[in-house]
């Protein structure tokens, strides 16, 4: 490792740590500004109608202690950080006495299993289409580009709703919501697995379709930019075969697309919100949606913290990968 490289990584790690701290602080402060006292609403839900004023007061004190709300703001912050590091993230308000980690733990695997394959498939197909559109410009541009532009203008939730109505409600080919039939208990039986697969289709394809559109448009314009670059003209003058040039061109055009892939994997949980809420898929996005609607801020801040940390890690990894694969970054940073 050269001196320049070490300096580069030190700088990156410094930024990583600073932003991480800022993210944790924001995640702590913002939800606490939410109007309405969570303890009062829980006590209001759980107390028996004949309770005396003293009993109510007792309950309020009890829950305040449970949630650590009787401490001052710094004590609460310390609890928040401690809970984040030991992985429990504290106790949920709306689903007391469940811990936040239990709620997240049950959702995150559904989200990962839905999003990761969908993002990868959409990315691959989208880039292939985009590269093809750039290479065979005349046909694709005239015939398909306006159409692609229109379809990529349909918002993600709109596309999901149209898929849902078309295939689940009208044609009845796929179930309307959930991740498996409501009567089933998760097991390794054939019945359960086939139910999971049939519930998987619509959310999966809705994510794939959306990412194909975005990736194809991006890849096409990147490729066209690269195809018109001076090095391509120079290579043509030198008489290098077209096939060879195209390989270089697409490798260069891929670079921003790799960023896109890493970022969409990093922000997977945030991206899951739309598809999951429309198809009522029991992933992390759905937990977050439920938490938002019941002002359950330990869950909200845990989810947003997870998203932030994943994006942070993704962009950090990107910086490291770029340092090795992109000669321009190498030249700029390592001298």
């Amino acid at each position: 490792m050269t001196k320049g490289m070490r300096k580069y990584f030190k700088k990156k790690i410094f930024w990583f740590v600073i932003t991480f701290i800022a993210a944790v602080v924001l995640n702590f402060i913002l939800p606490r500004l939410m109007p309405g006292d969570p303890v009062n609403s829980i006590v209001g839900k759980n107390i028996s109608p004949g309770a005396t004023q003293e009993q109510i007061q007792e309950q309020i004190v009890y829950y305040q202690h449970q949630f650590g709300l009787d401490k001052n703001i710094f004590g609460q912050f310390w609890d928040f950080v401690k809970n984040a590091f030991n992985g429990t993230f504290g106790v949920s308000y709306s689903q007391y006495p469940k811990t936040v980690s239990q709620i997240i733990g049950s959702g995150i695997w559904w989200t990962v299993a839905l999003q990761l394959p969908a993002i990868l498939v959409g990315w691959l197909l989208g880039n292939l289409l985009g590269a093809l559109a750039a290479y065979k410009r005349s046909f694709w541009d005239k015939a398909l580009m306006p159409l692609t532009l229109f379809f990529s203008a349909i918002p993600a939730f709109g596309a999901a709703v149209i898929l849902l109505v078309l295939f689940a409600v009208t044609l009845g080919w796929a179930p309307v919501n959930g991740a498996f039939d409501p009567g089933m208990i998760p097991s390794f039986s054939w019945n359960f697995i086939s139910s999971v697969i049939s519930h998987y289709q619509l959310p999966f394809w809705s994510i794939v379709l959306i990412s194909i559109g975005g990736q194809a448009v991006g890849m096409r314009s990147m490729s066209i930019y690269e195809l018109n670059a001076d090095y391509v003209k120079y290579a043509r003058f030198l008489g290098i075969k077209d096939k060879k040039i195209v390989r270089y061109v697409f490798r260069n055009a891929m670079l921003p697309q790799v960023t896109g892939l890493a970022m969409s994997i990093g922000s997977m949980v945030g991206g899951a919100l739309v598809a999951e809420t429309i198809f009522s898929y029991p992933g992390l996005g759905m937990s977050m949606y439920a938490a938002i609607n019941s002002s359950d801020y330990p869950v909200i801040s845990a989810c947003t913290l997870i998203i932030t940390i994943m994006v942070l890690i993704a962009s950090f990894m990107l910086d490291i990968i770029y340092a090795f694969i992109d000669p321009r970054v190498k030249a700029a940073q390592f001298d």
């Binding site: 930024w15 600073i18 932003t19 800022a22 993210a23 924001l26 995640n27 913002l30 939800p31 606490r32 500004l33 939410m34 109007p35 309405g36 410009r137 541009d141 532009l149 229109f150 990529s152 203008a153 349909i154 918002p155 993600a156 939730f157 709109g158 709703v161 149209i162 849902l164 109505v165 689940a168 409600v169 309307v176 919501n177 314009s221 066209i224 930019y225 018109n228 922000s267 945030g270 919100l273 739309v274 809420t277 429309i278 977050m288 949606y289 938002i292 609607n293 002002s295 801020y297 909200i300 801040s301 947003t304 998203i307 932030t308 994006v311 942070l312 962009s315």
Partner: protein, 420 residues
């Protein structure tokens, strides 16, 4: 300037996008002058299908005209002949040994079914032969009544309107050739897109919501672009400590996803304090970062150009150098960034509203709120009310489509390498 504008409007993509956007904008501005209806006023209970609704009460109190439509009886049968009667006709024909393949109980096949019926049914014949399944007297009577009805003899289903109560009640017979003129009926309403779950006229609501969403997009886009431009110019041109501080803030904003910030800030505000402007401003101040970064990098490459140095030597002020020597070079980029920011502002509002974090739902409709209501009240699934969400999706898609088209059109004009 004039030349650039001419170039821009010669780009077909920009032109198409511009026309679509202007059409939407004009509709939003003009529509309220033609339909004076409060977009949030409930007209009915729940979803009503698109169509014209005529008051039965008023129709009965409107003067009638005699009209003889040639196919009136058939049309009446089409909309009133129940499926079980059609099935009975099929069963009878089958029992008599008539070939009924290709006929069924649907409206398309009604004509064929009626023709086969008229050809084969005969009261005396049915009485004599006692076909299988139609041997009892009751069944044969049912067949006879059905035949009467089909052959247009309505004497056994006469209708009359009774006005008043008790002794003073008068009754008027309604003939099947009585018609009312729709514009003479005191109360009738045409709902081109039906009503939503609250019974609101969806078209009026949609137009209002489009206007509000465009406003949110414009406010958010202006704030994001202005902030991004300001930060980018200062960081890029002044440099030094100011650059470090501003880029520090920008870095934090880049890594914490804007959407997460929006969710956190919105839920911290609570529904009551989320007005339209508040929502727009918050979207604006969470999405300036990319503009700031690009502006900064372009300004850095500009700041050592000869003409800028010359300006500096002439003792021009910072403000003058920035506005006359730097801004013109990045103006095209800023315009493009603004268009994209407007489009993403509208989308951000829609997504937040769909999560239940939208503007206060009791004040004004937005496109996102309409989507959220459609979801909450089962328009996709149980009610199957396409008119409550499909036009909204189409409108959002059209707005982003037109803005994206304008953007790519500008891109082609300003970045000639992309030009065909």
């Amino acid at each position: 300037m004039k030349h650039t504008l001419k170039n821009v409007f010669h780009s077909p993509r920009f032109l198409v996008g511009f026309i679509i956007f202007m059409a939407i904008l004009l509709t939003v501005l003009i529509y309220p002058y033609f339909v004076h209806r409060d977009p949030l006023q409930g007209l009915g209970k729940g979803f009503l299908e698109p169509g014209t609704y005529v008051s039965v009460y008023d129709a009965n109190n409107t003067g009638t005209y005699r009209v003889d439509l040639p196919e009136a009886a058939e049309k009446r049968l089409e909309s009133t002949l129940p499926a079980e009667d059609r099935q009975m006709m099929l069963d009878f024909l089958k029992a008599k040994g008539v070939d009924v393949s290709g006929l069924d109980a649907s409206n398309d096949k009604l004509e064929g079914l009626l023709a086969a019926w008229k050809e084969n049914y005969d009261e005396a014949d049915a009485k004599k032969n006692k076909y299988e399944g139609f041997s009892t007297q009751a069944k044969r009577n049912a067949l006879r009544r059905l035949d009467n009805r089909i052959s247009g003899d309505n004497s056994n289903v006469a209708m009359s309107v009774v006005r008043g109560e008790g002794e003073e009640a008068t009754s008027t017979a309604v003939s099947d050739t009585d018609y009312v003129k729709v514009d003479e009926v005191a109360n009738a309403i045409t709902l081109p897109l039906g009503t939503d779950n609250f019974g609101r006229d969806t078209l009026t609501e949609l137009v209002k919501a489009t206007g509000i969403s465009l406003l949110i997009g414009l406010i958010a886009g202006s704030i994001a672009t202005m902030l991004g431009l300001l930060v980018g110019l200062l960081a890029g041109y002044v440099g030094g400590l100011l650059d470090d501080v501003l880029m520090f803030i920008a870095n934090i904003f880049t890594v914490i996803p804007g959407f997460v910030l929006l969710i956190l800030i919105y839920s911290a505000l609570g529904a009551e304090s989320r007005g339209i402007t508040t929502c727009a401003v918050i979207i604006g101040i969470t999405s300036w970062v990319w503009t700031a970064r690009s502006v900064r990098s372009q300004v850095i490459s500009l700041r050592n150009r000869d003409h800028v140095n010359l300006s500096k030597l002439s003792g021009h002020s910072l403000f003058r150098i920035v506005t006359t020597d730097i801004l013109p070079y990045i103006a095209s980029y800023v315009v493009m960034a603004f268009i994209l920011q407007v489009s993403s502002g509208i989308l951000a509002e829609a997504q937040l509203s769909m999560l239940g974090l939208g503007p206060n739902p009791n004040e004004l409709p937005t496109l996102g709120l309409m989507m959220n209501w459609a979801k909450l009240f089962g328009a996709y699934t149980s009610s199957n009310a396409w008119w409550a969400y499909f036009p909204v999706i189409l409108m959002i898609a059209l707005i982003s489509f037109s803005l994206n088209l304008m953007n790519t059109g500008l891109d082609q004009v300003f970045n000639p390498t992309l030009r065909d």
